[in-house]
Subunit: 411 residues, 2 copies
């Protein structure tokens, strides 16, 4: 089944709101094996909508509309569809009663234009609106299905999942399930990772493997199609194993996890406590780690040593180190990590010092970073890093490198 999504609303074209409905619908249609080939957005304009529908009729088996079911004169989706498929609108008793009940309940006066929301396409299947007044519709004409949904996500989403999607499933003979899994990598660039797994990417058909980059990470989405969910799962599993054999060293987690969340889980599992000295990152590392509930069991705390004064007085970095090597140095990073570990009585001390930019610091370029890890009873390791990009990007990636090296160490 091939489908298209048409969102109706001038507020979308004016950039006042984002078309999140298209994403929501696409995601849930993909799961039941419906292919989406186009998203279109048109304004509250009958001629534009008509053009979009006529075009979609030539390409799709199912056209899903969101928006334009409200009470105002601007709302013309159902009027336009009814006309184009040669039928009319009629009042739906149930919808009319529920609109009246809504007004009675809220004590507001029902104006005449609200009744318009109870008008539905003749002979269509009505999709109940549990969170608003305008019902949805599902109609068939000349071999094409039409599903009309309201625009507000809080009305549209439950209507689609509870009433809309089941109607689509009824029309499908064989449902090909699409299962997908997201693998997350850090410490390797997108093209380097693609080069490593180029032959796997080339031969892909089922499952497909789509790389995405973002915020210094690489994300692979493996998607398999099969009538049997078990078989789809097996296909994904097999592709994952092949990929991780090559680039497993950079893999850190699945789906929507973050590298900080993975680190938190690992610290908890290993019962290892941590403290951080944050110069460059200014609190971001601990801020991200403590975003996760229950972190007080293993995050002791730390020091934001933004100035050399605090490095010296609170974290007791040697004055000679600061004078001779500077704050942006491997030596300073080392002392910071060791001393914050002792100060906070933690198993691990980690430190971040460097130049976030935009200006140079101590004659060093933005992106020059030293990250040190002091582990109780082990030699302190310093990781020098070189990064490009904005101040925000450098700081964020430095935090991720911290998580990355700690995960490697704890494994």
């Amino acid at each position: 089944m091939n489908a298209e999504i048409i969102a109706v609303g001038s507020e979308l074209l004016l950039g006042q709101i984002t078309n999140t409905n298209a994403r929501f619908l696409s995601q849930h249609l993909a799961e039941i094996g419906v292919n989406i080939y186009y998203h279109t957005v048109v304004g509250d304009n009958e001629a534009q909508l008509e053009d979009a529908v006529i075009l979609a009729q030539k390409r799709a088996d199912l056209i899903i509309f969101s928006g334009g079911l409200g009470p105002t004169k601007d709302d013309l989706t159902k009027e336009t569809i009814a006309r184009l498929i040669g039928t009319t609108l009629e009042y739906n008793e149930e919808a009319l009663q529920s609109i009246e009940a809504y007004f009675a309940k809220t004590g507001r006066i029902m104006t005449e234009n609200n009744k318009k929301q109870a008008l539905v396409i003749k002979d269509s299947i009505i999709l109940k609106n549990d969170n608003g007044m305008a019902p949805g519709m599902f109609a068939k004409a000349d071999g094409t299905y039409y599903m009309l949904l309201p625009g507000p996500p809080r009305e549209m989403q439950p209507m689609f999942l509870n009433y809309g999607r089941p109607e689509i499933l009824k029309t499908m003979e064989k449902v090909e399930r699409i299962e997908s899994r997201v693998l997350r990598f850090f410490g390797i660039g997108e093209s380097a990772l693609e080069t490593e797994i180029d032959d796997i990417l080339m031969k892909q058909a089922n499952p497909t493997i789509a790389p995405l980059a973002g915020d210094g990470e690489v994300i692979l989405r493996i998607t398999a199609k099969h009538e049997s969910p078990d078989e789809a799962f097996r296909l994904i599993q097999q592709a994952e194993e092949e990929i991780l054999e090559r680039v497993g060293a950079f893999f850190y987690g699945y789906e929507d996890t973050t590298i900080a969340a993975e680190l938190a889980a690992k610290l908890k599992e290993k019962q290892v406590t941590i403290a951080a000295a944050e110069s460059l990152t200014g609190g971001l590392f601990l801020g991200e780690l403590t975003a996760i509930p229950g972190t007080s069991a293993f995050v002791k705390g730390g020091v934001v040593c933004y100035t050399n004064e605090v490095k010296e007085q609170v974290l007791h970095v040697n004055k000679e180190t600061l004078d001779a090597r500077g704050a942006v140095s491997a030596e300073c990073a080392k002392e910071l990590a060791q001393n914050v570990r002792k100060l906070c009585d933690a198993h691990i001390g980690i430190s971040f010092t460097g130049v976030a930019g935009p200006d140079k610091l101590e004659g060093q370029e933005p992106g020059t970073v030293f990250l040190a890890i002091a582990f109780e009873g082990k030699e302190t390791i310093v990781h020098p890093l070189k990064m490009a990009g904005s101040r925000a990007g450098i700081r964020k990636r430095t935090v991720k490198y911290g998580c990355h090296y700690l995960l490697q160490l704890l494994d």
Copy 2:
């Protein structure tokens, strides 16, 4: 000028990401009086893209593309457009050099497919990519303009604002300017603010005033239309004055600023230094403040005192306070603020202690927060707060309250 936006990317049709680019572009095009009639999304598929372009050519003077400029085989936007307008691609020396420089700087190996990103449409105007490798393009053929932008928002947005939009403006003869201004408020709810300015909202025509809520803030966008930018500016100015007369106490800044950025500017202006003791917020406050360049002049640093151990040993909170009152108490907040100020030798010490949730702490409900501000030579002020919402929301809003109270104090 009539425009359409075509986003290219199968990940959009699969519902993996939302088409936020269309909204961003629409919003900024509306401001310069460019009308957008359609948004379209197509997959990484040449035939589909071609159909969409041929259709858009019939309707639009300007077609803006986002996505499909990357290094992989899937990326085919510029190839398709070049073919459709009867031209070819050629290497752009500057882009090639900046890609090579990027790899040289980061020390990573440049793979052959990265070079593909330096291929541009012959005779097009190149739009520099300050945040990535693929340059954008602006071409004209047979009376239609084509603008090609990269897909990742962090590359696309600055490219469009700095290089893309100015090219569009050059092609326009008479522009009915739409000027807009965003006012940002914190410390007042959306409906409370709307009630305060209800009569101003009711009478609006030109300018229009649109309230938006987000992340504990209220945002008002004032938009005026006029051929003369001066007159549009005057209309906005007048509306702003009327609004601020009523709710100016909660106003903190314009456009895309953040309350942390406003605080940083104020600290700099007043030459006041600050240190923070962060329990509840775990580093978020200093992390946000140090996100702003040049903050080392007034941010001394601080302590992330996530555990009571660190509160006692590093920040010397009295054991009796912790035993008798608990860490989540006005007394603890007060000592933390005073002691971190002294420890870091700053003019101001601020502290954040409380319950982020989801679980209770010391028998207190999530959202119970104490925020204290110790100012050299003044009495320490404690602000008790009660918040609802998620762990992340409570932490973020606590940081904003910190900025809000500091701004009030410094004014």
